[in-house]
């Protein structure tokens, strides 16, 4: 007889073979927070003379399913900054509520020294870094657009590891591969950024989103675009990609049904 009590009342190993313990619950760490579920794709942004423009489409995907098509991934922080989120949407909501509570507390003091976009970016990058250090990352790559303490246009990114990077034009996700080269071609140096008009910047972003809509299978043709300038923040949330031309698709070989 097997004298180990855990074997009593169970199928005998010598007859049925040993039980495969991998079917039992393990006591390992929780892992469902370590991969994204409902996600947003690229955010693109570019500086111009006197401000920053930022855009993202209105899609939240569940894997490859286009699950939610009216999602606002550009979030305003007070009257001073816009944050564009790609990555997990529920983590975005968590950060959004965090920012809401910070904005409320900011207004409790009456001295008028409010947080600018640069402060906000520093703060968020540290939140992201803390969470990744706990092996429980907030699965987002964010772009923060606004002004720094000298009222100069500010644009910087922070990712789920807490890595920060700043450039006159930035994009997350697929946009880092598809949109940044376009923006670099349009605005090749610092000078071209400093002389770029708001209209040029907005047109460039619309062009980038169109290319992303053509080539990124997790994207949508409805998008939001925000412009942060001295006049304040203008967000347009129900934009449609205009003048689409899929003629180029005919020339693409090697995908889908047509293999050769």
């Amino acid at each position: 007889m097997n004298h180990f009590p855990e074997a009593w009342g169970r199928p005998r190993d010598d007859i049925y073979g040993p039980y495969n313990p991998s079917y039992l619950q393990t006591t390992g760490p929780k892992t469902h927070t370590q991969s994204p579920a409902v996600t947003g794709t690229s955010v693109v942004a570019v500086k111009f003379n006197g401000g920053v423009a930022i855009a993202a489409d209105n899609l939240a995907s569940y894997g490859s399913l286009a699950r939610f098509t009216d999602v606002k991934r550009l979030r305003k922080f007070g009257e001073s900054a816009v944050i564009g989120f790609s990555g997990d949407v529920s983590d975005m909501q968590h950060i959004d509520r965090l920012l809401e509570s910070i904005d409320i507390r900011e207004n409790y003091s009456t001295h008028g020294n409010t947080m600018n976009a640069k402060n906000l970016h520093t703060y968020l990058s540290k939140v992201l870094y803390k969470r990744r250090s706990e092996f429980n990352p907030l699965w987002n790559h964010i772009l923060v657009a606004g002004f720094d303490e000298n009222k100069k246009p500010f644009l910087s990114s922070a990712d789920l590891l807490g890595t920060t990077f700043s450039a006159p034009h930035l994009a997350t996700g697929f946009g880092a591969h598809l949109a940044v080269p376009i923006l670099r071609r349009l605005f090749p140096d610092e000078e071209s950024i400093e002389t770029a008009s708001k209209e040029q910047a907005v047109a460039a972003l619309r062009e980038c989103l169109k290319v992303l809509w053509y080539r990124d299978a997790r994207s949508l043709d409805k998008y939001s675009i925000a412009v942060i300038s001295e006049a304040g923040i203008e967000i347009e949330e129900d934009q449609q990609i205009e003048a689409q031309s899929w003629a180029f698709a005919e020339a693409i070989k090697g995908y889908g049904a047509q293999v050769n």
């Binding site: 939240a60 939610f68 009216d70 999602v71 606002k72 991934r73 949407v89 975005m92 909501q93 968590h94 959004d96 509520r97 809401e100 509570s101 409320i104 207004n107 409790y108 009456t110």
Partner: protein
């Protein structure tokens, strides 16, 4: 003074044989010495005003605020012990933030007042604490528009009501006053502190329950009432601190803010003029009386 408590006032939470709680009554006395604070519930907003007595010329003018914001849409002014008022505000902010973390939206003024009432009342129950030495006026505006849930990303289903009640009327101004006992009522106009009697008399003249007074008129009246209430302690300098919360289409867009400097100064000038006018009238009537006396002579 020696015989009033007769032993029943030595500890908090102790009743006297005739059903009084002396420690709470003494807390009310502390409030009655504080600078006057008032609140007016107008049809399109709420005004809060406080007479801040200047205890030293070395204090920076306009600093050391006595009005405080809770969440975005609620303001608190209090009369009585200033540190107690600060702690009260701190608690109110914690309550508002805790409400948000549970319900993902701003706390209604009525709910905040209820929680603060319960909090203050708890300080009448234990011998290890003393009651709050403040009477606080809580004013705010509950949004009349349908608010997005905090963190909401989309706009819900495109067809059907989505569980919403169409055309339901919600929101509006709220004004509550919480006393050291924990007692709180909703008011059309509330006053506390040293000049409360005079202030209440003036508030009653405004016919607030008919709901006709506009926020801008309310600002003027609030300034005047604080000046009237200050008449009895004229020897002391004071600053008028005034904040307001308007409807969403009003000047503060549903937020609690300081009344802008220009408007505040205008209201103060009007208040001073009104007081001088009253004095002249009084002098004039006295003069008439003297004349008639003389006539009789």
């Amino acid at each position: 003074m020696t015989s009033i408590g007769t032993g029943y006032d030595l500890s908090n939470s102790v009743f006297s044989p005739d059903g009084r709680n002396f420690q709470v009554e003494y807390a009310v006395k502390a409030v009655e010495n504080g600078g006057t604070a008032i609140g007016i519930r107008c049809k399109d907003g709420v005004v809060l005003a406080v007479e801040k007595i200047i205890t030293s010329k070395l204090l920076k003018p306009g600093a050391n605020k006595r009005t405080a914001t809770v969440d975005r849409h609620i303001g608190i002014v209090s009369a009585g012990l200033v540190p107690d008022g600060r702690h009260f505000v701190s608690r109110a902010r914690d309550e508002a933030s805790s409400w948000r973390s549970v319900y993902k939206g701003p706390i209604p003024v009525s709910a905040l007042s209820n929680r603060l009432g319960s909090y203050v009342q708890a300080y009448t129950l234990y011998s290890s604490v003393r009651p709050f030495g403040v009477t606080a006026i809580v004013g705010g505006w509950d949004s009349e528009a349908e608010l997005a849930v905090d963190g909401q990303v989309g706009s819900g289903p495109e067809s059907g009501s989505g569980g919403k009640i169409q055309g339901a009327k919600t929101g509006g101004p709220g004004l509550y006053m919480i006393e050291p006992s924990g007692l709180y009522w909703g008011y059309y106009g509330a006053a506390t502190g040293k000049g409360r009697q005079a202030a209440k008399a003036e508030l009653e003249k405004l016919d607030l329950n008919s709901g006709n007074l506009s926020l801008l008129e309310g600002v003027k009246e609030a300034a005047r009432i604080i000046y009237v209430a200050h008449e009895d302690s004229k020897d002391k300098d004071f600053e008028l601190e005034m904040t307001w919360i308007s409807s969403l289409d009003g000047p503060t867009k549903g937020r609690h803010e300081e009344v802008p400097k220009g408007l505040l100064e205008e209201a103060e000038r009007a208040a001073k003029r009104a007081l001088e006018g009253e004095d002249e009238e009084e002098d004039a009537t006295k003069g008439d009386a003297n004349d008639s006396e003389r006539m009789e002579e």
